[in-house]
């Protein structure tokens, strides 16, 4: 099955700093999503981005499908950005299950 790797596993930032999270995947995908799991356990959908670039406020994401990676950019980080960021992909054959990476744990300190 498809493999998903995320880096770095852990990240500590000072408030206001920028960061880039990476997701590599091993095969063609027709779905790639970035999620933020907050400290209360809620899984919040950030981007649906199987290809291209999207922006939402301080967050943006880029997926280069041909090279099998996606990047999530967080600018001017805030303490509320803390939590775990997951990349999840579905193989390129219809409504397949999402396969999750192991996440990047982000801690933003004031």
């Amino acid at each position: 099955g498809i493999q998903v790797e995320q880096s770095p596993p852990d990240l500590i930032l000072q408030e206001g700093a920028n960061s880039t999270l990476r997701c590599n995947f091993s095969d063609s995908v027709n779905n790639l999503q970035w999620f933020h799991q907050n400290p209360w356990g809620q899984l919040i959908n950030l981007f649906y981005i199987p290809s291209g670039t999207k922006q939402n406020g301080r967050l943006s994401a880029t997926t280069v499908a041909t090279e099998r990676y996606s990047l999530l950019y967080i600018s001017s980080s805030q303490t509320t950005d803390s939590g775990v960021y997951f990349c999840a992909v579905a193989e390129n054959t219809g409504f397949q299950k999402l396969v999750f990476g192991t996440g990047t744990r982000l801690l933003v300190s004031p």
Binding site: N30, L43, N45, V84, F95, K97, F100, G103
Partner: protein, 112 residues
């Protein structure tokens, strides 16, 4: 509505008891998925449905786990004779077309 509604939010069961979790997908979404998050960073796929039909059940432990999605009812995930290792957060997600999957807020199951 525009959210996936999972109930209950928390469930505590003694070892050996039955647990039943519910998921109401977004109206119009015909695909439903169940995931188990045991350790904070690990999601395990359990089962998916296309309407009331099982679509993919490759992740389901066959012995004690079962799931249904019946017309005009919330989907359900049932665990017979719970074990300590079933303690986890169970997430449900739904999808209709290419636009991503929407997750509910999860049910935290604690087996004591």
């Amino acid at each position: 509505g525009e959210e996936v509604a999972q109930t209950p939010k928390h469930l505590v069961r003694g070892e050996g008891q039955k647990a039943k979790l519910y998921c109401a997908p977004i109206k119009g979404h015909s695909y439903v998925f169940w995931y188990q998050q045991v350790l904070k960073n690990e999601f395990k796929f359990l089962i998916s449905f296309q309407n009331e039909n099982v679509f993919d059940e490759t992740g389901m432990p066959k012995e004690r786990f079962s799931a249904k999605c019946l017309p005009n009812s919330p989907c359900s995930l049932e665990i017979q004779a719970t074990k300590l290792e079933d303690s986890a957060v169970y997430f449900c997600a739904s999808s209709q077309s290419q636009g991503g999957y929407t997750f509910g807020s999860g049910t935290r199951l604690t087996v004591v």
